[in-house]
Amino acid sequence: MRRRWGGRWPPLTLLALAASLGAVAATARAVPVPLPSVVLQVTLEPPFPTPVTGGENEGALLRIPTVSDQRVTVRVDEEGDPFSVRVRQRLVVRRTGDYSFVIGAPVDDVLATPESESEPGLRRGAILWAGFSAGRKVLSADVVLRPREAARVLPLRIDVDRMGDGVRVRLRNATRVSLRTIGGNARPLDAARALDAVRRQGARPLASGVILDFRGAPVATLRTIAAPLHVRGTLEFPPGALAGADVRGGVKQGESVAVDALLGDETPLVHDVLVSGTDAIPKLRVVATPEPPVRALEPPGGRSWADYVRGRKISGRALVARAVAARLAFARARQYQTLLSDPDPLGPRSATYRFITGERPPRATPQQPASVGAGAAWLPFVLVPLGLAVAAGLVVLWAHS
């Protein structure tokens, strides 16, 4: 039977057309996009940039397999402001052959540690290492940095203030940065799988990377990220100062307050320790360690994100954002694992930042020039007559000889 629909498409046809169009549309908008690399240099610093001096940078062009570990010791005053920054940088070169590289830093001085198998060189704004490695060579040095320039790159800011009848120690993750990165939408399951891949690969720079099929082209978006910082330590008070004091944000342990906080991994970037009932300023002994994001990648109650999204209505866009943010957090944490650069951008690295309260050294007063000859002015008045008298005596002696 032939029926005329009066110009209208039959419903099934419409449906089939829509489905095929949808399929076509869906197929056409799946854009595979690599998520940001964990070795991405999110900001210019850290590490401190390497000056261009010529040939030493040749090492940077050829990767020198190196393991890097840095122990940063920051001395702060009673208010938490840094006045001394030293880094013990330990590099283990793992190759047979020459090595020659420059490490840029606002360096005042550098001294090899006893375990170092070579001596570092020092130039304006740079540390030099050069030599031959027979397969494994330890290069270790204590680096004294100019505190003002080094302090602005530290991952943790500490502020110690008197508040009311107590003291507040504010620990702030200073690694936060806003940057333009990719955003977009993807199928929730694809995004979940990407998240699982991010979680699996962690901070390994040599891993294959994570590619996510975006729905449509990725868009530029402004995102704020930070490197998670694990801050642990103690605030040491003078004896008796904590008697009757109330502590929040920490645990009173005798004469000190223990602190253990994770800043920036789905947690606030600021942690305050409030001690009321005392006006004593504590001495800080706090260690901050950049760590990879864990909580941000923990699937809620599940083994994996893929499991989590099944059967749930989850925004693919949000999952994409989480995956991108996590990768950037890895990269950001990795940045802070080298305050001083090392010649192997892909090699294993670690860093800790130790903050210790100390006595700020007194400012050196300019030496007053010694008043030259103030006591010698009378000398000619004594020596000349004496000399004349001696001469006269000699003449008389001569005359009688």
Binding site: V395, V396, W398, H400, S401
Partner: protein, 607 residues
Amino acid sequence: MSAPALTQTRSALADAFGDARRGWARWHSAAAVAVAVVAAAPAFAPDWFHVDGVAAAFYQALAATGLMLAVGLGGMPSLGQGAFMAFGAFGTGLLTARAGWPLLAALVVGVVAAAAAGAVTAVGVVRLRPVFIAVTTWILTWLVVIFLLAFPSISGGAQGIVVPRLFSPTTHYELALALLVLTMLGAASVKRSPVGLELRAASAKPAAAAALGVAASRRRLGAFVASAAIGGLAGALAVDLAGVADASDYGPFRSFELFVAVVIGGAASALGPAVGVAALALVSAGGGVLADLEGVQAVRFEPMFAALLLLTVLGLGGIGVVPAVRRVLARANARPERRTRGSTAPLRPVDGTPHLEARGLEKRFGNVVAAEDVAVDVAGGEICALIGPNGSGKTTVLRMLAGTVTPDAGAIELDGAALDAAPQRERALRGLVRTLQSTSSLAGLTALENVMVGAGLRRRHGGSIRTLVASPRARAEDAAVREAAFGRLEEVGLTRAADTPVENLAGPDQRLVALAAALATRPRVLLLDEPSAGSSVEDVERLRELLGRMRGAGVGVLLVEHNLRLVRAVADRVVVMAAGRVIARGSPAEIAADEDVRAAYLGRAAL
């Protein structure tokens, strides 16, 4: 200060200035101007005038001038001045660099160390003959540099000892120039002084000088020590200028270079060493030019040119540049010498009556009996002649009496006091003086200076220090000695020859000068050994007259002679020796008639 002291001081100063003004010659003014110009040179010198290089040359000249005291005045050819410079340099350098001493104190120690080293060396070498002095000091130089190189902990090894510099090069320049000028003036003063005369006398004829009572060993030791001390001073200051004490710098070549400079410039002249250093500097500059032309290192030419220059000077007589120039100038102003005619002026009489007695004198040389049981006596105012054939022992007896030979047995008394162990100088001081068999005049000195050596025996104010400062007493004594010496020359009739170098006089006149020098010592007994040898009849006659005047003055004379005519004419008594024994005594007539004497000695000759 008391008024008399003030008066004396004023008077002494006036005398001194007066003497200086009188003695000031035109060339002194020229020299003063030259020194002033050289001193001012750094202020206006061009770029190629390297102040530090010239200052180093001044220090080299200072060391060479010091060496002149030993070589020129003392007659000791020392090849060890480099070693003494090393003592000064390293003594000072070690104290300033390692112990932080102030320079002045370290300098004193360095100079004292050099002087001490010089004293130790001098004790060993002053009595040696010149060739052995040269060898010994040459070995010393080698030993010092080998020691320094063997102990780098002391010498600093190849890097030397870095010495903190106290003075700027310009200060060193002025200091070195001042020290050099003062040292040259001092050397010239010493040369003219009694010390210098004695040194020159001992250098010219040690035996003759000793016979006049000159303490030659003591004087030479003093000259050697002074030479070493000046070398040490030069070395110490040069090290401060250089900034580093380098052991290889004081090796044998440095000593040789200094010796060559002294010889080239003139060993007997105070100015000579400085001229010698300048000559060597010219040689070095010439060597540099040649080296540049040849494209080799200059250091290869310097020793060769220095040696050639030395050979040239030696070949031309060896007196050096300065004395040669002076000689030429002197010849230009020379007046012809006339023979003197003798004098009849009486001699100064002797105090008291001297008496010399010798008994049982014996001397053997191996198996040869030079003298056996010889007895001799001479009274004041008496001439006793001792005659005998050659080899009879006459000169040996004379030497035993004078103290140059120690008798194996016997006794000698002068004026009743034993002389057995007394050295020559003491015998001379007590009035027993001898003249030598050969011509005993002192070459290199004028006739007056020869006699002044004798007259200087009894000086009390003739030491080095007084001479250097020209003390009033030294100058007064000098004038008195000069006058006394002139008087002695007048006694022998040689006043016109006073300023003539004695070697320019005829032989008999030279013997007369020697006699005058002996008389200047104010002898009580004179021992004359063949004074008429080689004389003409006229000269013998002059001698006879002189001997007569000696007798008239109360001087005892023991005359050893072969001239029997003279003996007969002057002798009061004659002692005859043969084969070491006295075979006859008596008056000339008795001896002439003695058959034994005739047989042993006179033969067909008649006394």
